[in-house]
């Protein structure tokens, strides 16, 4: 029998449509069908100035806007050859780890809800709300933050921001214990996740899986540690790896990542350097408001950047960062003008979704929902 699941199905996390060929309760073949959210962001980017692309990148993956911002600005900065001041780099790391916490909390809540543990959702969203409030505090937006700029940050962090983050980081570890109390030792949770939707390391690599989906299968790679960017080499953290390759292994990887991210947030707060938040690059970075009112030069630069953008030397770069879902990469080609010739996003979810048939075929139909939840897909990123 062929069974259609989605695109409007609550456990498909958006608009994923899955065609299931089933024999009784056993899945014989599974075919994901995507593209319902395709908005042509890559094409849109080609018609925008470099700085105008930043808000578009938020909208790709609404659970990790800052990671997308970071990846894009790092790629443009690499094209320009810009040096970023340390405070901006540390702020970027701090915000990225908060984003990871935000994203993993949504994943944990919805994943548990898919499997039937409704309570966890409420606990996770309690802390997520706090993270979103911090985003609002720093950027004025809860979700579509667009806080990073080419050359630095949009704004100085407001007064009281670091205290608030510090308070959150202080109690968050206990909250993770709470989630784990509800799930990790829970017999129902174990039965639904252990040994379910297995993925071997060879298959995971061959299918291009990355992030916790890959690390849950025992492959020890994390771009933050192995190919550091934005000053991650200054931070001390562990990369959780699990060997089993099942839903439970991927769950454990992400929960332990939550703890590590919290540690990185604390380290970033402790060692936050003083100094400017924007690179010294007139013509690329918008001048301060104050200078614009007093200096002719600054006013001219402001006018030029807004009206005609800034030209980027011809060339191409591929910049990858470790997003909560895996390797997020931006490939940007410049032809020397103020608009990118081509912007391509390597979506971690797109590759991760390809592992779904390997996980589900031969398993039970009820486990499909667990498998979809465990690869943590965001359809906005898949379809772009």
């Amino acid at each position: 029998m062929i069974l259609n699941m989605g695109p409007q199905h609550p456990s498909t996390h958006g608009v994923l449509r899955v065609l299931l060929e089933i024999d009784g309760e056993t899945v014989v073949r599974i075919m994901p069908d995507i593209g319902f959210l395709h908005t042509g962001i890559e094409k849109t980017c080609e018609a925008k100035f470099y700085q105008q692309v930043v808000p578009l990148t938020d909208r790709i993956d609404y659970l990790c806007p800052m990671t997308n911002n970071l990846c894009y600005v790092l790629a443009v900065e690499k094209l320009l050859g810009l040096e970023i001041p340390p405070k901006a780099q540390w702020m970027r790391v701090l915000m990225n780890e908060l984003t990871r916490i935000n994203s993993h909390l949504v994943w944990l809540g919805t994943h548990a809800m898919d499997i039937g543990a409704l309570t966890v959702f409420l606990y996770c969203f309690r802390e997520r709300e706090e993270v979103l409030k911090m985003f609002e505090m720093i950027s004025g937006q809860r979700m579509m933050t667009s806080y990073f700029r080419v050359g630095g940050l949009a704004l100085e962090p407001p007064l009281g921001f670091f205290e608030r983050v510090g308070e959150f980081a202080g109690y968050f570890a206990e909250k993770i214990d709470e989630y784990e109390n509800l799930l990790t030792g829970n017999p129902i949770w174990m039965m639904r996740t252990k040994g379910v939707a297995r993925l071997t390391a060879e298959d995971a690599i061959a299918l291009g899986a990355s992030g916790p989906t890959l690390r849950g299968s025992g492959v020890d790679i994390d771009l933050r540690r192995d190919m550091p960017y934005s000053g991650y080499e200054n931070f001390n953290f562990k990369v959780p790896v699990a060997q089993e390759g099942d839903v439970f292994a991927r769950y454990m990887c992400r929960v332990r990542e939550l703890r590590e991210s919290n540690e990185i947030v604390k380290q970033a707060l402790d060692g936050m350097p003083e100094g400017p938040i924007k690179a010294d690059a007139p013509g690329v970075v918008l001048p301060d408001r104050e200078k614009m009112k007093t200096q002719m030069e600054a006013l001219i630069y402001h006018f030029k950047i807004i009206t005609e953008g800034f030209a980027v030397p011809a060339g191409e770069v591929y910049q990858a960062v470790e997003s909560p879902r895996g390797e997020m990469g931006y490939y940007i080609v410049s032809d020397g003008t103020a608009k990118p010739y081509r912007v391509h996003m390597r979506a971690a979810c797109l590759a991760n979704l390809q592992t779904l048939p390997k996980m589900c075929e031969g398993g039970l139909i009820a486990d499909v929902v667990a498998a979809i939840g465990s690869i943590d897909i965001v359809l906005g990123e898949i379809d772009r």
Partner: protein
């Protein structure tokens, strides 16, 4: 920080393991190299891309065992019009390399990598969908993001931003 000029001299980049390995296997495979902004690009002859990738994946010194991405750039109206771009990652060596294949607009087709990495499946379907590049030997080359009955390939440069009216 000033940008260093790109190095495109094959002699100077022979030392790179991937370039060295490909030259050793078949010197005609490498049609050009570029080292720019700390990133290595190798232009590969279109007839050999699948063998070249299999070679780089299996060679112990290169070990480019992970296919990060496949995408394409349209250089319309220049010829060869298309560049298909492969980003490879070596998980053991923590290295990246970019392979490029140039295709002209008369026959935009290249061999599929699905037999080397099954994960190439979606990437190639996406490139087929948005650029109209055919991947020979692909098991299921159908549109991925656009509707089945869509006309044209939106990411081509001669495709208007507002779509055909």
């Amino acid at each position: 920080m000033a940008l260093a000029p790109a190095i495109t001299d094959l002699e100077r980049l022979k030392g790179h393991p991937a370039v060295g390995r490909l030259l050793e296997w078949n010197p005609a495979t490498v049609t050009g190299v570029k080292f720019d902004r700390d990133e290595m690009t190798i232009y590969v002859d279109r007839a050999n891309i699948r063998e070249a990738c299999a070679l780089l994946r299996d060679d112990a010194e290169c070990a480019f065992n992970f296919l990060s991405d496949i995408t394409c750039v349209d250089w319309y109206p220049a010829e060869p019009r298309f560049e298909v771009i492969y980003h490879l990652l070596s998980i053991p060596k923590k290295e990246r390399v970019r392979l490029k294949v140039r295709l002209d607009s008369a026959s935009p087709a290249v061999e599929s990598l699905t037999s080397v990495w099954p994960g190439a499946n979606y990437f190639e379907r996406e490139v087929f969908d948005l650029f109209g590049i055919r991947f020979t030997g692909h098991p299921y080359l159908r549109r991925l993001l656009m509707p089945e009955d869509w006309e044209g390939h939106p990411l081509r440069k001669d495709y208007p931003v507002e779509g055909y009216r």
